[in-house]
C-alpha cells in the first residue's frame, strides 16, 4: 500500500509546476482572461509541446495512454495556477467522449489533432431547465434527408466560443427526462444554424450559450449507438470528477498556504493575527478539510484503479463522497480564506478571490455537493 507518485508522475507534476511558476503567473493569467478569446493559444501550443494534451489518449492515437492518476497529477498542478485554458472541456470531456465512442473515423481524425493542439472541443449538454440532471434534455436531433437535424438551446457550454468542434447531446427518443433516448453528435462549430453567445464565467473561464436552429449534420456525425449517449457520458464521469476534484485540492492547498502566510504578516492590536488562538483553530479546521478532501480524491482513484476489488456500488459511493467532501471543504476553505484576509480578501486585485471563484465553479460542475449527497443517499441507504 502506497500513495506515492511514480517517477513518471513526479516528472509530470514537476513539469506542470515549473511551467506555471515560470510562465503562468497571476499577471499573465489576468491578461489572458481579459483578452477576447479568454485563453492563450500560445499556452495551449506549449501544453501540446510538453505532451500534456496527449496524457489520457491511447497510444493507438499517438497518446500517452495515461490513467486517472496522471490526470489527477496534472489537474492538481493546473489548479495551483488556476489555469483557464480549456483542458477540462477539450481533453477530458470532448476528448474523453471521443475516446470511449471510438475507435471510429471521427476519433481517428480528431484525437491526433487534439494532441497536436489543433482541435479545441466542447461538450454541449446542459440546457436552461436542466440544472444538474444531465438527462433533462429537450434539444432534439431528427432524421433528415441529409443526415440529422438539430434544434434546441444549450447553456453554459464550457469552451463553447473557442471550440472548433462540439459534441452535442440531443434527444433522439423518449421524454424530457429519459436517460435512454439521448444520442451524441459531432458538430463543426461553423455549421450553418449555430449561433454562439460567449461570456466569461466568474472563474475566468469562457463559456457560451449555443443555439441550434435547424442545424443539418451528416448521418455519420452520430457518435456510438443511437440513443446510447448517456452510456458514454457515464464512462467519462469518474475521470472528469476526479480531475476536477484534484484541481480543487490544488487550489485548496494554495488558499490555505496563502492564508497562513498572510496571518503571519498582518498585524492587528500590535501582534501578528496568526497569534490569535481563535484564528489558529479555524486554520486547523481548514487544514483538516484539505486533508480530508485529498484523502477522498485518493479513495476515488483507488476505487477506480485497475485491480480494485470494489464492487460497482462502492466505486460510485466513493465518487459521490469525493464530490461531497470537496464541496464542503471548498466552501469552508474558500470562505475562511476571504474572511481571514479581511478587506484584502474582498479585492479583485488579490489572487485569493479568483482561487475561491474557481473552487465555487468546480463545485457546480456535474452536480453540487447536495446533488451528489442525494445520489449517495440513494445508493447507500434507499437501496439497502
Amino acid at each position: 500500500m502506497n500513495f506515492q507518485l511514480s517517477d513518471e508522475q513526479a516528472m509530470l507534476r514537476d513539469s506542470v509546476a515549473r511551467y506555471i511558476k515560470d510562465q503562468y503567473n497571476f499577471d499573465t493569467r489576468k491578461k489572458i482572461i481579459s483578452s477576447e478569446k479568454g485563453m492563450s493559444t500560445e499556452s495551449w501550443a506549449m501544453f501540446s509541446d510538453l505532451g500534456w494534451l496527449s496524457i489520457p489518449f491511447s497510444e493507438h492515437y499517438g497518446g500517452y495512454g495515461g490513467g486517472n492518476e496522471d490526470i489527477a497529477v496534472i489537474m492538481e498542478e493546473l489548479g495551483k495556477g488556476i489555469v483557464v485554458e480549456p483542458f477540462v472541456p477539450t481533453i477530458m470531456l470532448f476528448g474523453g467522449l471521443l475516446s470511449h465512442c471510438g475507435p471510429n473515423k471521427i476519433s481517428a481524425d480528431l484525437i491526433p489533432k487534439i494532441i497536436e493542439g489543433r482541435c479545441l472541443g466542447a461538450f454541449a449538454y446542459l440546457e436552461r431547465q436542466s440544472r444538474f440532471e444531465i438527462t433533462d434534455i429537450k434539444t432534439t436531433a431528427t432524421h433528415s434527408k441529409k443526415g440529422w437535424c438539430i434544434n434546441g438551446s444549450k447553456s453554459v457550454v464550457l469552451n463553447g466560443s473557442n471550440a472548433t468542434h462540439i459534441i452535442v447531446a440531443a434527444r433522439t427518443s423518449g421524454g424530457q427526462y429519459d436517460s435512454s433516448g439521448i444520442s451524441l453528435f459531432m458538430v463543426d462549430a461553423d455549421t450553418q444554424g449555430i449561433s454562439i453567445l460567449p461570456y466569461g464565467m466568474m472563474d475566468g473561464h469562457k463559456a457560451a450559450n449555443i443555439n441550434f436552429d435547424g442545424v443539418i449534420i451528416p448521418a455519420d456525425a452520430l457518435l456510438g449507438k443511437l440513443d446510447g449517449g448517456m452510456k458514454f457520458v457515464e464512462k467519462i464521469m469518474p475521470q472528469v470528477l476526479i480531475g476536477l476534484c484534484a484541481e480543487a485540492i490544488g487550489i485548496m492547498a494554495v488558499l490555505n498556504e496563502a492564508t497562513i502566510a498572510y496571518t503571519k504578516t498582518r498585524h492587528q492590536f500590535g501582534v501578528p493575527i496568526s497569534s490569535f488562538q481563535a484564528l489558529q483553530h479555524r486554520m486547523v479546521d481548514t487544514f483538516m478539510a484539505a486533508e480530508q478532501a485529498r484523502s477522498m480524491v485518493y479513495r476515488a482513484l483507488c476505487a477506480f484503479s485497475e485491480g480494485s476489488l470494489e464492487v460497482e456500488n462502492e466505486r460510485m459511493r466513493s465518487l459521490h463522497a469525493m464530490k461531497i467532501t470537496v464541496a464542503k471543504s471548498s466552501k469552508l476553505i474558500g470562505e475562511e480564506a476571504i474572511q481571514i484576509h479581511g478587506g484584502m480578501g474582498m479585492t479583485d486585485e488579490l489572487n485569493i478571490g479568483h482561487y475561491v471563484k474557481r473552487l465555487m465553479t468546480i463545485n457546480l460542475m456535474f452536480g453540487d455537493g447536495d446533488y451528489h449527497q442525494r445520489r449517495f443517499n440513494q445508493i447507500s441507504y434507499e437501496a439497502a
Binding site: F132, Q339, G353, D368
Partner: protein, 397 residues
C-alpha cells in the same frame, strides 16, 4: 409581555403600506435594481430621489430626536416601518449620513454644526461617507495613523483611508484622525468632518470580487480643514466614535431585508427544477432553507428584545454585537442558498445574456450578492472583533 398591535399601530401600518405603494414607483425601483447598479450616477440619482420623498413625508430619520427632525415613533412603529420597507423590497436609507454621522453631530456637535449639516443630511443634499479604516488599521480601528496637525489655525490632514463605501458619490466624509501621539492609542484621536471637494483629496476605486465598484481608497495630501469642522473636543474623537459603533451594529441585523430576501428565495425555489422536481419540494433544500429561516425568526425577536430594552432607557450592550454577528451570518446564508439555487447559472451569465432570454433572470444578482456579501462579516468591525466584544462583556475578562 406585549407585542400585539393596537388599532393605532394598524392604522400606521396601513399608512406606511399606502405610502410605499404610491411613492416608491417602479421607475425608482427600476433604477435601483442590480442590472444598473454599475451605473453609478443613475444609482445615486435614484437613491436621492427616493430619500427626498421619505424626507418630504417626515420619515427619513425616524430614529433622530424629534427636535432635529425625527419621527417620534414608538418601537412598535419603527418595527412596522422596517418590516413594511423590507417586505416592499425597498432599500434602507443609506446609513452614512442619517444613521452614522448625524447622531454624532446632534449628540456631540455644536449649534453651528447642527444647523449647517443636519438639514442637508435630512434632505439628502449631502452624500456622506465614512473615513475610519486604514490599510494598517482594519478591525483594530484605534491603530489609525492619518494625522491632522493644527497649522495656521487649520488642520492639515495627511493619510490614507480605505474600504470607503461610495466615496465616489460623496460630498462629505467624516474621519477619525490622529491629533496627538498619546501612549494609549485610543487617545489623541479626533472626529473631523471634511468636504470631499477640498484640494488634496483623491479617490482610488477598489474593485471587489463581484467585479463591481462599491469601495474606495481615499488619500489625503496636505488637506486643509477648518477647525470649525472638528466635532466636540480635540483628542476625544474615540469616545464619539465608540458611541456610534454600538449604534451602527444594532442596525446590522437587517432582519427586514433578510426576510425579503428569504421570501424571494422561496418564490424562486418553486420555479427552479431539478429532474422535474421543484427545489422547494426537495427535502434537502427544504432543510437548508429552514435552518436559515428559523435562525432569522429568532433574530427578529432578539432584535425586538434589544429595541424594547433600548426604549426602556437601556443602551445596546453586547447584544448589539450579537445582532451584527447573527444578522450578517444569516444574510450570507441566504445568499449562499440563492447561489445554490441558480446552480450552473451562478457561475457566470452576465445581464446582457439574461436579456437575450438565454440566461437566468437572477443568476447575476445571486452571484454578486454572494460574493460582495462576503464583506458583511468583515466590515463594521469584523465578526471576530464582535466576538471579542461579547466575550469581554459576557465573560467579564
Amino acid at each position: 409581555m406585549d407585542v400585539t398591535f393596537t388599532k393605532e399601530d394598524l392604522a400606521f401600518r396601513d399608512e406606511v403600506r399606502e405610502f410605499f405603494a404610491t411613492e416608491y414607483d417602479s421607475s425608482v425601483a427600476g433604477s435601483l435594481n442590480l442590472a444598473t447598479i454599475s451605473d453609478g450616477a443613475c444609482y445615486k440619482d435614484a437613491i436621492v430621489k427616493w430619500q427626498k420623498k421619505l424626507h418630504a413625508k417626515g420619515w427619513i430619520a425616524p430614529g433622530w430626536p424629534v427636535e432635529y427632525g425625527g419621527a417620534g415613533w414608538s418601537i412598535t412603529q419603527k418595527f412596522i416601518f422596517e418590516t413594511e420597507r423590507g417586505a416592499a423590497g425597498i432599500p434602507a436609507v443609506i446609513p452614512f449620513g442619517i444613521s452614522m454621522v448625524a447622531p454624532v453631530i446632534y449628540t456631540f456637535g455644536n449649534e453651528q454644526q447642527k444647523k449647517k449639516f443636519l438639514p442637508r443630511i435630512l434632505s439628502s443634499d449631502d452624500w456622506w461617507c465614512q473615513g475610519y479604516s486604514e490599510p494598517g488599521a482594519g478591525s483594530d480601528l484605534a491603530a489609525l495613523t492619518t494625522s491632522a496637525d493644527l497649522v495656521d489655525g487649520e488642520y492639515l490632514v495627511n493619510g490614507h483611508k480605505i474600504w470607503t463605501s461610495y466615496a465616489q458619490y460623496a460630498d462629505w466624509i467624516f474621519c477619525l484622525v490622529r491629533t496627538s501621539k498619546e501612549t494609549r492609542k485610543q487617545q489623541g484621536i479626533s472626529f473631523l468632518l471634511i468636504n470631499m471637494k477640498t484640494p488634496g483629496i483623491s479617490i482610488k476605486p477598489i474593485v471587489t470580487i463581484d467585479g463591481r465598484h462599491h469601495l474606495n481608497e481615499v488619500m489625503f495630501e496636505d488637506v486643509r480643514v477648518p477647525t470649525e469642522n472638528l466635532i466636540g473636543e480635540q483628542d476625544k474623537g474615540w469616545t464619539y466614535a465608540k458611541a456610534l459603533l454600538a449604534h451602527e451594529r444594532t442596525g446590522m441585523a437587517e432582519v427586514a431585508d433578510s426576510k425579503r430576501a428569504f421570501s424571494e428565495l422561496k418564490e424562486r425555489a418553486k420555479y427552479e427544477v431539478n429532474g422535474g422536481r421543484a427545489m422547494i419540494d426537495d427535502p434537502l433544500f427544504q432543510m437548508r432553507m429552514s435552518d436559515v429561516e428559523t435562525e432569522l425568526m429568532a433574530l427578529e425577536y432578539t432584535e425586538l428584545r434589544v429595541l424594547a430594552a433600548m426604549a426602556e432607557g437601556g443602551t445596546p450592550g453586547p447584544e448589539s454585537s450579537l445582532l451584527k454577528i447573527k444578522g450578517t451570518e444569516i444574510t450570507q446564508a441566504i445568499q449562499e442558498l440563492q447561489l445554490q439555487l441558480v446552480a450552473y447559472y451562478g457561475g457566470g451569465i452576465p445581464s446582457n445574456v439574461q436579456k437575450d432570454g438565454y440566461g437566468h433572470a437572477f443568476a447575476e444578482e445571486a452571484r454578486c450578492g454572494y460574493l460582495f456579501g462576503r464583506a458583511a462579516t468583515i466590515y463594521g468591525g469584523s465578526n471576530e472583533v464582535q466576538r471579542n466584544v461579547i466575550a469581554k462583556m459576557v465573560l467579564g475578562v
